[in-house]
Amino acid sequence: MAKGVKPRVKVPKSASAGDSITIKTLISHKMESGQRKDSDGKIIPRSIINRFTCDFNGENVIDVTIEPAVSTNPYFQFDAKVPEAGEFKFTWYDDDGSVYEDTKAITVE
């Protein structure tokens, strides 16, 4: 597990059934591109988050394939439909095999 990786997610606490809501996510990660060299001139190996997914009650909202050109501390904003009350699940996949998860519950008015 890469050091100091911390996810942040912003989801409204409630919505009307069938509404579309905006979700913002950010995870602290260096996103080492594999293009940089260290002071000895050696390539610093690539180490990035290569995939991000958001699901709601087991159904997919968005699935992002990520390349090294995504900035340090990757940020994503997108919209999700909320058919019923439930739980969003956010998953980030690291090159090193680590998986970081966060969940957020939402109620329906």
Partner: protein, 139 residues
């Protein structure tokens, strides 16, 4: 060789020429788009809207957004980067819109490209030039 200032400059010029002569890491617009569409044509000027700043204060963190009505997936490309692929957003059954935004790295001033795969299997594309400025004294 006696390394005088003049020689050093000539060497520098030769080195620069070599770099230009090599096929640069950067892809052409068409090549980049085709790499996503698998060789299919992508239409410009559709409903796909790509939003990116005209001038980026720092190439490390450039905000980009797409609005791609009717798309099943959208790929961002930075065709002046050593590796043009940036990210692909696949919209799932619970996607609330076909809009998404992220922050990307641009190595230099270049065209940022979005390629949208539509529900009917066709492709649309849009591009925007982003000027990447070099900071003041670099500090």
């Amino acid at each position: 060789m006696n390394l005088t200032r003049r020689n050093a400059m000539a060497l520098g010029a030769a080195a620069a020429a070599t770099i230009v002569a090599l096929p640069a890491g950067a892809a052409t617009f068409e090549e980049a788009v085709m790499s996503v569409t698998g060789g299919k044509e992508a239409a410009e000027g559709g409903d796909l809207v790509l939003t990116a700043p005209e001038i980026a204060e720092n190439g490390n963190t450039v905000p980009v957004a797409i609005d791609a009505p009717g798309a099943v997936a959208v790929t961002f490309l930075a065709i002046g980067n050593p590796n043009p692929a940036v990210a692909t957003f696949k919209f799932g059954p619970l996607a609330g819109s076909r809009e998404a935004s992220t922050r990307i790295r641009l190595a230099t001033t270049q065209d940022v490209v979005a390629v949208a795969e539509m529900e009917d299997g066709s492709f649309q594309t849009a591009k925007q030039t982003v000027k990447v400025t070099i900071g003041g004294c670099g500090g």
